[in-house]
Symmetry: C2
Subunit: 428 residues, 2 copies
């Protein structure tokens, strides 16, 4: 990120607000966003608003392209779909102007958001925010098209699905904004999915690392890349609802473990499967001979577990997305033959559950508490994988809801974390 050319006056509070497709899905919704932006503006904040295409618009455009050529060139796809956000920036600017707020719209190319030339999933390289800065100094609200940029040759690029979050965070980083607010259809990050656990609680704050672990485990509030970006450039990020008022969840950078609850939240993913190759000769290089072909077939694998060798052979298990299970089994059977492995077994009824929290770093006993809780419910753990701030287990998917509810209760996520809970965890 380029350093700001001009320093903004110290007393200016700069906020970047991002509104997704549902939040700007109709003229009525765009007017509601204009009201919300107007309120922030009246507080004296200097505002950059990043918007997505109106809900349904991107799919309408993709439908037109599909009719012409289902394998249309990526360059032209980007020219096509980038019109979606361009419509929204114009309409929102009009709505703000009508409210007496001077607003100016910018496409990704106009800002300009420089990206590489990987059409459809470009990465932001730089933002030349000089013009935006000038607008902010003149108290104009700047409305920027999310999801899109421009490469060095001036070709229109897009950042891929959910890229508007990344645009917002990148703009906030370039402007050294005081806060980046992602407005969405949920009112924050929850301890777990409220559809499974009605007692799930909105978190006031969560660290970037926790958020990343939760996101990769299936909590889809924020696009992973935008959280990584926020972490890298230390952008204060807040997730809020565009439909109701509330503080949302702040994604933080530096929090001492003492202030931190043991567990931030529980993520899950139902659509998993596991595949085991058994009786593989335990030789150096065996893993690469297994995973090389799997990677070449573009199969996404997640947890990998290798048991200790017995009698010169070992078992190797990994999880795949359920819709790639059949392909994985077929491929692994071929590999097993080549390697003279005993056999291949699999199970496509797996669910993955992860508890995440930076508090784990300084508190032992979390894993044991997790296993005890599941054991007490009679739930068999089929796989375990851990990182510094996360413990994931694989269980039969019929136990998913039961497991999540039990863990949510055991770690007292519905209320504040008390000393008692910590002690319990340590003792466990």
């Amino acid at each position: 990120m380029r350093a700001p050319v001009v320093s903004l006056a110290k007393n200016m509070f700069i906020a970047v607000e991002k509104y997704g497709g549902t939040s700007v899905g109709s003229v009525e919704r765009i007017n509601a966003v204009a009201d919300r932006v107007s309120a922030s503006h009246q507080k004296g904040e200097r505002l950059v608003v990043v918007v997505s295409a109106m809900a349904g618009e991107t799919n309408r455009l993709l439908g037109l392209a599909e009719e012409i050529d289902p394998e249309a060139q990526a360059r032209e796809m980007d020219v096509l779909v980038s019109t979606g956000e361009q419509v929204t920036i114009a309409l929102l600017s009009m709505a703000l102007n009508k409210r007496g707020i001077e607003a100016r719209s910018y496409t990704g190319g106009q800002v300009q958001i420089l990206t590489d030339n990987v059409h459809g999933k470009a990465r932001i390289l730089d933002i030349n925010a000089a013009r935006v800065r000038e607008d902010l100094e003149n108290n104009r609200v700047v409305v920027v098209a999310g999801f899109q940029g421009v490469d060095e040759e001036g070709n229109i690029t897009t950042l891929g699905r959910g890229g508007s979050d990344t645009t917002a965070v990148a703009m906030a980083a370039a402007l050294e904004a005081d806060e980046c607010r992602i407005f969405t259809d949920v009112d924050g990050v929850y301890t777990t999915d409220p559809r499974i656990v009605p007692e799930a609680r909105r978190l006031d704050q969560i660290t970037v690392e926790e958020m990343l672990e939760l996101a990769s485990q299936g909590a889809k509030v924020l696009q992973t890349r935008s959280v990584e970006f926020a972490g890298k450039y230390r952008v204060p990020l807040r997730v809020l609802s565009s439909f109701e008022d509330g503080p949302g969840t702040l994604i933080t950078h530096e929090v001492s473990d003492m202030e931190q609850p043991l567990i931030a939240g529980i993520a899950y993913n139902r659509d998993e499967a596991k595949v085991t190759i058994r009786g593989v000769p335990d030789q150096p290089g065996i893993a690469s001979r297994i995973f090389g072909p799997i990677s070449a077939a573009h199969l996404n694998i997640d947890m990998i577990i290798q048991n200790v060798a017995q009698d010169g052979t070992t078992d190797l298990t990994f999880t795949v997305n359920r819709n790639e299970y059949a392909q994985a089994m077929k491929l692994l059977n071929e590999i097993a033959q080549e390697l003279n492995a005993r056999d291949v077994v699999g199970d496509d009824t797996l669910a993955k559950i992860a508890i995440v929290g930076v508090g784990m770093r300084s508190h032992s006993g979390v894993a044991a508490k997790m296993f005890d809780t599941l054991a007490a419910e009679g739930i068999n753990i089929e796989l375990i994988s851990t990182s510094e701030i996360k413990i994931s287990v694989g269980v039969n998917d019929k136990y998913l809801e039961l497991a999540v509810r039990a863990l949510h209760k055991a770690f007292e996520l519905e209320g504040d974390v008390t000393e008692e809970t910590l002690t319990e965890a340590q003792e466990a």
Copy 2:
């Protein structure tokens, strides 16, 4: 217009083709355009294709803006409506790519078509066609968004309704193209409206001057500005149908009068009204005291006729568009009082008919033949106005069809012009 930086190989035939909203109004129609472009490409022509928004799309966008703010800022209107052509360039490029033709789309800003900053009706100042030229040299088809450009600060501008024709002509001028083809829903320029005169004949060619007179008189095949542009930069312009094959009409620049028919065509406009202020003191400056307020009220006036003064007063008549008749009458009554004029009379049942032809320059008797023809049909002429290559008359609108048919027959426009016709005209 900037002179070409790089000279294209002499043996390259460059054509600019422009397809309007109806011609690209659906995926099916876009595929038909791709087939047509493909045919030109296979002949070895180097092609730039300028397209409008899909029919209906601009109105859809205007409807969204209208819902938000009927008086939306012009800058944002341009950001909004320019997405219409951007969708078309992407889809047409996809359709060409699918046919194995390498195609590249460019927005007005990417080309780049530099305009002034009068949003909604910007004028083209310059085109930097270097990149387009490079594409043509590499045998790529270049697809350009019509109707739009970019000002010096990078703001998106639009050229106003029908501006895609102007884009095409300007691209042709910048590239020194061999031909600029405007594809539309008619198969050329006709001697007059075939709905009134079934014998009306398509013209193989017409001069720029004649085309301008016909266009301003109500023949809406080409936007006036694009014809002016073609005249100024001597771009060979051809109007053709995008729905059927045919040579269309070539708009020419230098043709000797000898090759030229006496009359090229007959234009008409039904929606006229006339207003007369009578008994105005015949003093210097009186015209400006009448037309000053009329101009200030943005009333478009056309024919102006002042009779010879009698008894120190004069009568002054002019025509206005019928939907501004009431406003003109009210305003003129106020002016009449101020000037001590006798009275104001008006008539909102006027139609205007004009015969146009560069042949008039070298042949006398055309006006007389026109008046004789109308007299023979018992049609009273209420106003007359002439220019070097045009004679306009105002008649009661109930005579419109009769007058146009009689004139079309009298000047033998349904067939080729013969020596006999010319002689007749001269003798009349």
